[in-house]
């Protein structure tokens, strides 16, 4: 896996103030036919990005096509990542260059998939989410700091900040580049003992 381990991200952000962004929008089903994890970034938000599925005709109104907005942080409306369990959505966001997604609400499966790919989902209050959108609207190159060790997200210019929660196990995994599968593989003996006890 690429880009393992996350500490502090200091970057401009891309605003997507749309609610209920489902994983079919993040990566449409027709791109799920690959058998590898790589290369999904070019089709991220495919049908919101291009007119008639054609890269020659980008939809200028869509934020990813606006050169004013770029960075490692995506800021989205509530209930981001709902719908299909496709991990391809997390792969596409990561492959495109995002390391953090901020929203006031994440769908459960998306959240797990993101964490398993070192894409940090940061859940903030509705109020702070609005502050983020307002700050970026005012100045597209607003710098945002996402500090995982201190579980703090802040807007550099205004100093506005908010704490976010993450379970201590996952935090350690993200900071040290550990996967769940490493942990589980170390548990094999306990799992075998458990199987004997239930059968």
């Amino acid at each position: 896996m690429s880009n393992k381990s996350i500490h502090t991200i200091f970057s401009t952000a891309v605003p997507l103030p749309m609610e209920n962004v489902d994983t079919d929008q993040i990566i449409p089903a027709r791109f799920l036919k690959a058998t590898t994890r790589e290369g999904f970034g070019k089709n991220l938000f495919r049908d919101w990005r291009y007119e008639n599925d054609n890269e020659a005709t980008p939809k200028t109104s869509f934020v990813l096509n606006n050169p004013a907005y770029k960075g490692q942080i995506l800021i989205a409306g509530k209930n981001f990542g709902c719908g299909s369990s496709r991990e391809h959505a997390a792969w596409a966001l990561k492959d495109f260059g995002f390391d953090v997604v901020v929203s006031s609400f994440f769908a459960d499966i998306f959240s797990n998939n993101a964490l398993n790919n070192f894409l940090l989902p940061v859940k903030v209050s509705d109020e702070f989410l609005q502050q983020l959108f307002d700050a970026i609207k005012e100045e597209a190159n607003t710098m945002i700091r996402v500090d995982l060790p201190n579980q703090l997200i802040s807007i550099e210019k205004t100093g506005e900040s908010e704490n976010f929660s993450i379970n201590s196990y996952k935090k350690e995994c993200l900071m040290n580049g550990f996967d769940d599968i490493d942990y589980l593989l170390n548990m094999k003996k306990d799992i075998e003992a458990f199987e004997k006890q239930i059968h």
Binding site: P17, M18, E19, N20, D22, D24, Q25, P28, A29, R30, L32, K33, A34, T35, T36, R37, D47, D53, G77, K78, N79, C82, G83, S84, S85, R86, E87, H88, A90, F105, F106, A107, D108, I109, N112, N113, N116, N117, N167, S168, Y169, K170, D179, D180, I181, Y183, L184, L185, M187, K188, D190, I191, F194, E195, I198
Partner: protein, 465 residues
């Protein structure tokens, strides 16, 4: 304090718990399909691992198989490669595959129950969000991502945090013409597409208990559409009768002892839920969606909500959805012309669904302006339909009875709805582009879909029965 049904199953499957973190959670059954498994097998190979418990894994090809001429090689190259990769991986790792041509092939959430693989008290996962379907049997069943598929293949376990619990009680009798699909669409319209995020939902009450197993599966199937991790229903005599005698159900003494355990699987009277919702079954009309998430639904005689009835923060998404759908706020949905009717998907493609539709359609003809696709959930459903003469009813009505697969629910195969066209669909998602680029989906029950097939527009089944 008493235990909930969920707790009883959960507690039995916790191997250990990490302090301040998730639990190592044991999985009894793991279903896999061609789309979300190839990268997981690659991961195993890269680490030099075997599948830990291949006998607990069942595979089928469903998401991108064609629904016509399944005996021929798949023409679409990437789909063919993915289906072939599944075949190779199953052979290499010793996993049973019910692939194309196998008499058990079908949609993963249709075949598990119909083969008796899904049993009360189990923990079940699959790299597919509609795994919640299996909860109808009193199981903890939920969808997972591909990294998690790899974890379960490697260790038969996942790291899971206990979710919050919600109970939804549906009491009373349903109106004629109202199906379990209408119950779940009604619930989602009430609490929204994110109303149960972070929760596992138990469905209870007299209206739920009166439903058949297939109708219960439809409800649990769409739990994910309100954000829930999964949904479940306590097993009862209906469950046991359904399971008895199925291919993989326990037999003889094993059946008796299983039954004894299954009968303990219900929520204790003094158990507590984090949230409870009460619904009167008689309030539910045939439902239909007008927007681009499954929470955007109304009773069929109601108007589409007006834009100014929405809160200011909800308005941009609402306006975008109506614009995509080509519909107007404040106007009736009844009478809306439709172009396609899709009866299928893991939500509504079982034999009872086909029987209901056939019962209504018999002796009628489809409207000239619609194309009607009926896609059975499995080979077994398809064969049963033929045995009962349902295929002849559909043929006479001008419906196409196709071969099993996920089909136009997500349009990964050739079954796509053209841009701008309206499709009444018995599936589970009306997201933008779900059934094809710029396709417009109206979610409804099989009977409401059948009514649209005959009239060519959105119609109230209660007036046609």
């Amino acid at each position: 304090m008493g235990k909930t049904l969920f707790d009883k199953i959960w507690d039995k499957h916790v191997v250990s718990t990490i302090e301040g973190g998730p639990s190592v959670f044991y999985i009894d059954k793991h279903f896999i399909h061609e789309v979300t498994s190839p990268q997981a097998f690659k991961g195993l190979s890269k680490r030099g691992l075997k599948v830990f418990r291949p006998q607990n894994v069942v595979a089928t090809a469903d998401h991108n198989v064609p629904t016509l001429n399944q005996h021929l090689p798949i023409t679409e190259e990437l789909s063919r490669k993915q289906v072939e990769a599944l075949k190779e991986n199953c052979a290499a790792f010793g996993i049973e595959l019910y692939g194309l041509g196998h008499p058990y092939q079908g949609i993963v959430h249709v075949i598990g129950p119909e083969l008796g693989i899904t049993q009360p008290g189990m923990t079940i996962v699959c790299g597919d969000s509609h795994t919640s379907t299996h909860g109808a049997f009193g199981t903890i069943a939920f969808g997972i991502g591909t990294s998690e598929v790899e974890m379960v293949l490697a260790t038969q376990c996942l790291l899971q945090t206990r979710p919050k619990l919600m109970r939804i009680n549906v009491e009373g009798e349903l109106q004629p013409g109202v199906l379990s699909k209408d119950i779940i669409l009604y619930i989602i319209s009430l609490i929204s597409a994110s109303g149960a995020t972070g929760y596992f939902v138990e469905y209870a009450g007299s209206a739920i208990r009166s439903l058949s197993m297939e109708a219960r599966m439809t409800i649990c199937n769409m739990s994910i559409e309100m954000g829930a991790r999964g949904g479940l229903i306590a097993p009862d005599e209906t469950t046991f009768r359904y399971l008895e005698g199925r291919q993989f159900a326990p037999k003889g003494e094993a059946w008796d002892s299983a039954l004894q355990y299954w009968k303990t699987l219900s929520t204790d009277h003094d158990a507590k839920f984090d949230q409870e919702i009460n619904i009167n079954a008689a309030d539910i009309e045939p439902m239909i969606t007008y927007g681009t998430n499954p929470g955007m639904g109304v009773g069929i005689t109601h108007n589409i909500p007006a834009v100014d009835s929405m809160s200011v923060s909800d308005q941009p998404s609402f306006i975008k959805a109506l614009h995509y759908m080509g519909l107007e706020g404040g106007k009736p949905i009844m009478g809306q012309k439709v172009d396609y009717v899709f009866i299928g998907s893991c939500t509504n493609s079982r034999i009872e669904d086909l029987r209901l539709v056939a019962g209504f359609v018999k002796g009628k003809k489809k409207a000239d302006n619609v194309e009607v696709w009926v896609v059975p959930g499995s080979k077994q459903v398809e064969q049963q339909a033929v045995k009962e003469g349902i295929d002849k009813v559909f043929e006479a009505a001008g419906f196409q009875l196709r071969q099993p697969g996920c089909s136009a629910c997500l349009g990964m195969n050739e079954d796509k709805i053209p841009a701008g066209k309206y499709c009444i669909s018995t599936s589970n998602r009306n997201f933008e582009g779900r059934q094809g680029q710029n396709a417009r989906t109206l979610l409804a029950s099989p009977l409401t879909a059948a009514a649209a097939a005959i009239t060519g527009k959105v119609a109230d089944i209660r007036e046609l029965m």
